[in-house]
């Protein structure tokens, strides 16, 4: 049976890995302009933050008889009350608007009109992570501890990345060995696309954390019933993070079938009981998951079923994004089934992928169903554990990729949509690493002093160097990055006709240039960048506030084109509007065009000398 015992030192190692990663993310975050989706979540966080503030005020609010909501919030002359009202002469803030208190005496934060006012925005995604973004933004408004300010919105996403490394270490160490866990955590941290997404106020890294957390809790619950409650709680948090979580029980059901069949077969052969056959984990998930999901999402507190149906319908009938793949711009399903597998192969460092395959190969024996394992591999030593850990991890690795491969799956495109597979990929890479280290040590024999440690540390450094190089080089163009060996880097991927970017975040790499070329301010058509993302560049002090985003390219001083295959029409529109095909600047990554910047000859932009 696995579940190796871990001590405080192990958690210290995991925590150090996580904290170090968060520090790196915080330091490098200002290089990455806000992305399209982040703009929506910034707005959501601001809105939800308004409700959280209301809740906070209610805690300290002394509602007067007759209820206009005289709150025990005091203010000084010249200050303003919560909500922006001027401070009254008596220094006692009153609820500024009718929204704060409805019927006399009813100042409840849970009132429907209040909940709907603050929580209706962006209700296609659950509340937990955006609520956490809001909490850190509220902290920022009081302390201004984050520099630049956009980091406040992003910080919790980075924290989830740190927690993920911690949990990868813990899971890998408990299931296999500490070396596996440590290598896996580093291999995951050094995936260029993961590194990019780990900076953002989005849900893709948080849901990867939740996928691993629920899987870990499920795994523990198979042998320790105390974890049944924890798996239910973890599942509730996962449901409140992103809709991917609804598929998790299906993966565990398949795995549990393996567990049950293996155990029954053992028992029929007269071997002792090793694991219980009751699906208590499912009970925990079913009983605790949905209530936590609803409880954490105020928008679902009213018209719950109707709103849940609306939420579900959004994802079941999701629009199809444009995605370039081998020169074809796909915009409706089916995307080729090879898409996630090929994208994984050419965006995850090749060494990591190779080690993961080696790790899976090492554990192949343990992945087979019990009777097949005996029939096909009678002489091997499978080291099967009762919880069939290898099957679970392999299933969790495969499932997200298989879902994206289905012809009926909407076209999403980004590798982030199967990030939930990567922690498991990393753990198998750790298994592969340990296998390689053992093999090397056997070959070296006693020729190297301290061989056991020297080989492990040296080999880990060698095997992680390519991933580190690729990750460092990918920054801040993580979505444009492709592996050097697998794809020939960004230019090789461009030759292959692969997607070059999405979300319009690369505008953040142009701020200095725009400041220099619009010294008196002006207007920019920002193509795929959202107004909120553009505004955040100004809030961060990177972009002159006199430069404004202009929805029409015709009247703008400058026009940007983010180079994605289906955005070429904007190039052509600009040629006609400005009478030239010549961009003043082409921002490149490894020589591949990322953004073209055109100057309107009738505008205020400065020509280059």
């Amino acid at each position: 049976m696995r579940h190796r015992h871990l001590g405080p030192l192990d958690h210290l190692v995991g925590a150090l890995l996580g904290v170090a990663y968060v520090i790196v993310l915080v330091v490098t975050a200002p290089d990455i302009g806000m992305s399209r989706d982040e703009g929506f979540y910034v707005r959501a966080a601001d809105s939800y933050g308004g409700w959280i503030e209301h809740v906070g005020r209610r805690w300290t609010c002394d509602v007067a008889e007759g209820g206009l909501g005289r709150c025990a919030v005091t203010c000084a002359e010249g200050q303003s009350c919560p909500g922006g009202a001027a401070c009254p002469a008596d220094g006692q803030c009153r609820s500024p608007v009718a929204m704060e208190c409805g019927a006399p005496g009813d100042c409840s934060s849970a009132r429907r009109e209040l909940v709907d006012h603050y929580w209706a925005y962006n209700h296609e995604h659950p509340s937990l992570i955006k609520g956490m973004f809001a909490l850190f933004q509220l902290l920022q408004t009081r302390t201004e501890i984050f520099v630049p300010p956009s980091t406040a919105y992003r910080f919790f996403g980075m924290v989830t990345a740190g927690l993920l490394l911690w949990l990868i270490y813990v899971f890998g160490a408990q299931a296999y060995s500490r070396q596996v866990g440590a290598f896996a955590a580093l291999a995951f941290a050094l995936m260029p696309r993961v590194f990019y997404h780990a900076h953002l106020d989005c849900f893709d890294v948080p849901i990867a954390l939740m996928a691993l957390l629920v899987t870990y809790a499920y795994w523990r619950s198979l042998t320790d019933l105390r974890w049944v409650v924890l798996v239910g709680i973890a599942y509730g948090l996962a449901l409140a993070t992103k809709h991917n979580a609804w598929t998790f029980p299906l993966i565990y059901l398949v795995h549990f079938a393996f567990v049950v069949l293996s155990e029954r077969r053992r028992r029929r052969r007269g071997e002792g009981r090793r694991i219980g056959l009751g699906p208590w984990w499912l009970l925990g998930m079913a009983l605790l998951g949905p209530p936590i999901f609803v409880g954490l999402w105020p928008w679902l507190w009213y018209d719950t079923l109707a709103r849940f149906r609306e939420y579900g319908a959004f994802h079941l009938n999701h629009e199809h994004y444009n995605m370039a793949y081998f020169g074809v711009n796909y915009f409706r399903p089916p995307l080729p089934a090879s898409f996630p597998w090929v994208m994984l192969a050419i965006t995850v460092p090749t060494t990591t992928v190779a080690l993961a395959l080696a790790g899976i190969g090492t554990r192949l024996h343990a992945l087979l169903p019990f009777h097949l394992e005996e029939r096909w591999w009678p002489d091997g030593r499978a080291e099967l554990d009762a919880a069939r850990t290898d099957v679970l991890l392999f299933g969790c690795l495969l499932a997200p990729l298989v879902v994206i491969s289905l012809p009926s799956t909407p076209i999403f495109g980004g590798t982030k949509h199967w990030f939930t597979a990567y922690p498991f990929l990393a753990i198998f890479a750790g298994v592969g690493f340990v296998g390689a280290a053992r093999a090397l040590r056997r070959r070296l024999g006693g020729r190297v002093p301290f061989a056991r440690y020297a080989v492990r540390v040296g080999l880990a450094a060698v095997l992680l160097t390519p991933a580190a190089l690729e990750t460092i080089h990918s920054h801040p163009f993580g979505l444009s990055h492709y592996g050097s060996l697998a794809a020939g880097g960004a230019p090789g991927a461009a030759d292959l006709g692969m997607n070059r970017q999405f979300w319009g975040f690369t505008t953040g790499s142009l701020t200095s240039w725009l400041n220099a070329h619009l010294p008196e301010g002006g207007s920019v058509y920002v193509c795929d960048t959202t107004p909120t993302a553009f505004r955040m560049l100004q809030e961060d002090g990177r972009l002159d506030r006199r430069i404004r985003a202009q929805p029409s390219l015709v009247g703008a001083d400058y026009a940007l084109v983010h180079h994605e295959h289906h955005f070429v029409e904007v190039d052509y529109q600009i040629w006609e509007a400005y009478g030239t095909t010549q961009p003043q600047l082409v921002l490149t990554y490894d020589g591949v065009p990322i953004i073209s910047v055109y100057r309107n000859p009738r505008g205020r932009g400065l020509p280059d000398d």
Binding site: W575, E576, Q582
Partner: protein
């Protein structure tokens, strides 16, 4: 191996200086009637950054090379342009990591480009069998633009029906099914009755060549009806470019050497119709040319 491949990939990156130096070679040798292109196509923004002053929308959005005398190409990473002649280049110079190539082309055959002469056209739309004139607006401002908005409405155009702002004829650049730029005349069909563009005193040459297509986003779903552009010379039909969704940028060619033709010049009419005009954002490029019909 992966570290080595990383180093190799970095060494192969084409620098700004390489592009600038290669562009200078082209600039020094450039002559009227030359076309410039790049291989691979993804490097096109870099080509235009350095040589865009020599590349007008007509060159960037050309349908073929028959109007040009020579073809320059800046090539990187071993790519060859798709429209290069199937012979060795006459000029082949390596500048840094950019290869500068130049091919001679067959003598130009284009006599009259309809897109260039849009201001000279007489445009009318037919409703209930009655022709209604469109009005040339030479002082407008370009309108439109943005993701998913389709081709820009130019400042100079023939405006037709104020109830249907899309019913106009003018020169623009459209992305068609292959996402390539096509400099063309927007002539959205009003329905089964035609929108008609008449060009007078046109040198007829030996043939007329038309290309036509629909805006990318309106064609790619392949759910709308056909569009037809029928060509008349001095009242006689030469046939029609008829296209269905999925056809992309379609070529049509017909001889102008009609029986009984007495003059080298004549009147060319292009009538665009569609059984259902919904999202039939049709744009066409065309010219009269010398030489036999292919």
């Amino acid at each position: 191996v992966e570290v080595l491949s990383f180093a190799v990939a970095q060494r192969r990156v084409v620098t700004e200086d390489d592009w600038a130096a290669a562009a200078e070679v082209v600039r020094e040798g450039f002559e009227e009637g030359d076309a410039i292109t790049v291989a691979p196509r993804w490097a096109d923004p870099l080509l235009r950054q350095h040589l865009g002053d020599l590349i007008d929308p007509a060159m960037a959005g050309r349908s073929d090379l028959e109007g040009y005398r020579r073809l320059w190409t800046l090539s990187i990473r071993g790519h060859r342009p798709v429209d290069a002649p199937p012979v060795d280049a006459a000029v082949d110079v390596l500048v840094g990591r950019v290869r500068v190539l130049r091919w001679p082309l067959p003598a130009p055959t284009v006599l009259y480009d309809f897109v260039e002469h849009v201001a000279d056209a007489r445009v009318e739309w037919v409703e209930g069998g009655e022709a209604r004139p469109c009005h040339w607006d030479a002082r407008g401002r370009p309108q439109g633009g943005g993701l998913g908005a389709g081709p820009l409405t130019p400042g100079q155009l023939h405006r037709c029906d104020p109830r249907r702002p899309w019913l106009w004829v003018g020169a623009t650049t459209q992305d068609t099914l292959d996402l390539e730029p096509r400099r063309c005349l927007w002539q959205h069909p009003p329905g089964p009755e035609p929108l008609r563009a008449t060009f007078t005193d046109v040198p007829l040459g030996d043939r007329v060549v038309l290309y036509g297509g629909i805006y990318y986003e309106h064609e790619r779903h392949e759910e709308h009806g056909p569009v037809s552009a029928e060509v008349f010379v001095d009242g006689a039909s030469l046939g029609a470019l008829t296209r269905e969704d999925g056809d992309g940028w379609v070529r049509f060619e017909a001889s102008t050497r009609l029986p009984g033709r007495t003059s080298d010049r004549g009147t060319v009419v292009v009538e665009v119709t569609a059984p259902d005009p919904n999202l039939r954002t049709f744009c066409w490029a065309g010219s009269t040319r010398t030489g036999a019909v292919e």
